[in-house]
């Protein structure tokens, strides 16, 4: 009908004020970031993680791999912290500081990649199970139950010892052992999202299953996955350290924190620094990831908005 009729009756003067419905594209992620920024603990976590990532990136600048990190210097064995060796040396006379710095690469890689693998596998399975439901759901989740019934550290040990201890297998083992967690998390959120009206709306406009899963469901169940992922990286680093502790971790001379810690445990009483510094590094990194993870959880949950 007339132009006037289609004019928005809601367009009062209010609309012109830039207050809430501001036209700039401020996605939810941006909001999350703004909320996260106010969480001091989370920011501390983020700061530490940034430092760790920087250490990983610039490791080669800080210390040369061939000559400092893996080269043995048996005359300088088990020396305490000094000006030359900031954090002392290990049982082969290698600079612990340099090894910790290079170790960030391995630890981060294992942590991030194994979680990424687990998210892709677990998330995919969880999404399919949750979306289709019924028999498919049942089969997938029963298989997950099987994996879940075995404590994850044992599963990881079994896989590593079956496949052999190397970086790839280690990541795979940690990934596989955490697949059910992600499958469950994703499935649970898919289940809540699946029944929401916007999914039905998408179906009503003729969207295909694939489009619905990728465009509508997955983006909406990312938040619990992100939280779980941040905590998962922490868990993966701990698991790696644990596996190294019983001799199934990263193999020498590659510097890995858990392996360093495990390698030094027989010197615990005589050369405290050999275990203490890698131990502290692990602890601080995990703590940072946990702080960030918790912060993200709060920031992503609008109900916790304070």
């Amino acid at each position: 009908m007339s132009q006037e009729m289609t004019l928005d009756p809601a367009q009062g003067q209010l609309d012109k004020s830039p207050a809430k419905g501001a036209p700039k594209k401020r996605s939810q992620w941006l909001e999350v970031w703004h909320r996260l920024k106010r969480d001091k603990m989370a920011m501390l976590g983020l700061l530490i993680i940034t430092l760790v990532v920087l250490a990983a990136i610039f490791a080669d600048v800080i210390a040369d791999y061939e000559t400092v990190v893996i080269a043995q210097n048996l005359s300088d064995r088990l020396q305490g912290p000094s000006a030359q060796y900031w954090l002392g040396t290990d049982e082969f006379g290698r600079d612990i500081f340099a090894r910790i710095i290079h170790g960030t690469r391995v630890s981060l890689m294992v942590g991030v990649l194994s979680v990424a693998i687990a998210i892709v596998m677990g998330g995919g399975l969880g999404a399919v199970a949750g979306y289709y439901g019924g028999k498919i759901d049942n089969v997938i989740m029963r298989v997950m139950d099987i994996f879940l019934a075995v404590p994850s550290i044992l599963l990881a040990i079994a896989i590593v010892s079956a496949l052999g201890a190397n970086l790839m297998n280690l990541m795979l083992a940690i990934a596989i052992s955490s697949v059910p967690t992600y499958a469950r998390v994703v499935r649970a959120s898919v289940l809540t999202i699946r029944d929401q009206e916007f999914i039905e709306a998408a179906r009503a406009i003729g969207a295909s299953d694939l489009r619905i899963i990728f465009r509508h469901i997955i983006p909406n169940c990312l938040s619990p996955v992100i939280v779980q992922g941040a905590l998962g990286v922490a868990g993966a680093i701990l698991s790696t350290a644990g596996l190294s502790f019983i001799g199934l971790g990263i193999q020498p001379p590659e510097p890995e924190w858990g392996a360093m810690l495990a390698g030094g445990r027989q010197y615990l009483r005589h050369a405290w620094h050999v275990t203490t510094f890698p131990g502290l590094t692990i602890m601080i990194t995990i703590l940072a990831l946990n702080l960030l993870g918790d912060g993200l959880r709060d920031a992503l949950d609008p109900r916790l908005k304070h």
């Binding site: 009908m1 009729m5 289609t6 004019l7 928005d8 009756p9 809601a10 367009q11 609309d15 809430k20 419905g21 501001a22 036209p23 700039k24 594209k25 401020r26 996605s27 939810q28 929401q196 009206e197 916007f198 039905e200 709306a201 998408a202 179906r203 009503a204 406009i205 003729g206 969207a207 295909s208 489009r211 465009r215 509508h216 983006p219 909406n220 609008p302």
Partner: protein, 318 residues
């Protein structure tokens, strides 16, 4: 009959549940003419939404026929369904749940156009979205906003724009205003009315708000536990409610007129479970006129007046 756009015959939708079969929709019949509005009212859980979803084939019917423009769409294949989606659309109750929180207004409105390849390029898409936004009264500056930044009224407008994107002939409105404040509710109702006039739309308007349905509909169908128990032109239904349940329902509406002293027909108890319902009139357990014959046989809709149908064994008997 040529101007019947949709006809539903003996539509049934049962859900299997652990406690038995849930008869959400149980033998519903009606027809709607082009450009008209059929209101469906009833209490929570009586099967209104399910009816709407089954018609759109968002749920598969257990039994019955759905004739859209003369074709039985229950047997349409995927491709036919896709094309049908251009003609039949839905607007949902909850403007907060029915929009993907991770998509902007323009993405949401543009999505049907993309899915159905209605636009050739980005620019055309932008233009079409802008047109649609104007149509539903959304300011162009809101293109990039996310749903959570908007109030319920604007969100509902996005939902309406999305439904209109494919230029449908027929829209099911599942409680489109019940989550909104009265002033916003009125704005949306006006908008929908305008759109109907402009675009010649046909609506099924589902609600539990009787005053809204009266205002909005040409014809009203009252549902109780999955069945239609009364259907009449709007005015007729309100002036001459026949089914005891309809009468109770109407008398329960609090009037804004102070002197309107209600003669309440207060119903005892609440709507009962639709799981494995007993045969006969489903309202009988709460009905003060119930007689043995109410439960001894199935009660069907009967035309008692011109266009006024009632499913009551006692109707006309006093």
């Amino acid at each position: 009959m040529s101007d019947t756009i949709l006809e539903v015959r003996d539509l049934k939708k049962y859900f299997p549940t652990p406690k038995g079969t849930l008869h959400a929709v149980d033998g519903v019949n009606f027809a709607i003419n082009k450009g008209k509005t059929l209101g469906i009212v009833g209490e929570s859980g009586c099967g209104k939404s399910t009816t709407g979803r089954v018609i759109l084939r968002l749920l598969e019917a257990t039994d019955g026929d759905i004739l859209f423009e003369g074709q039985n769409i229950r047997h349409f294949n995927k491709d036919q369904m896709r094309r049908l989606r251009e003609d039949m659309q839905i607007i949902f109750q909850d403007p907060f749940a029915s929009l993907n929180p991770r998509m902007t207004a323009s993405e949401i409105i543009g999505e049907p156009l993309l899915i159905h390849n209605k636009v050739k390029n980005k620019q055309e898409l932008t233009e079409r979205v802008a047109e649609l936004m104007e149509l539903v009264g959304l300011s162009p500056r809101l293109v990039n906003t996310y749903p959570h930044e908007l109030d319920g009224g604007r969100r509902q407008r996005i939902g309406i724009a999305r439904a209109l994107a494919l230029k449908p002939k027929f829209i099911i409105c599942d409680e489109p205003v019940s989550a909104l404040d009265v002033s916003i509710q009125a704005q949306i109702l006006n908008l929908m009315q305008d759109l109907q006039e402009q675009l010649g739309l046909t609506y099924i308007f589902i609600t539990h708000d009787l005053s809204v349905v009266k205002h909005f509909s040409d014809e009203i169908a009252v549902m109780y536990l999955g069945q239609l128990i009364e259907k009449a032109p709007a005015r007729d239904l309100f002036s001459n409610p026949t089914h005891p349940y309809t009468r109770a329902l109407l008398s329960a509406i609090p009037s804004i007129h102070l002197d309107h002293k209600m003669e309440r027909e207060v119903l005892q108890g609440e709507i009962t479970s639709p799981i494995n319902p007993a045969p006969g009139c489903r309202f009988a357990p709460r009905c003060k006129y119930a007689a043995p014959e109410c439960t001894s046989r199935e009660i069907h809709l009967n035309e008692i007046n011109d266009g006024h149908f009632v499913a009551c064994a006692m109707a006309g008997k006093g």
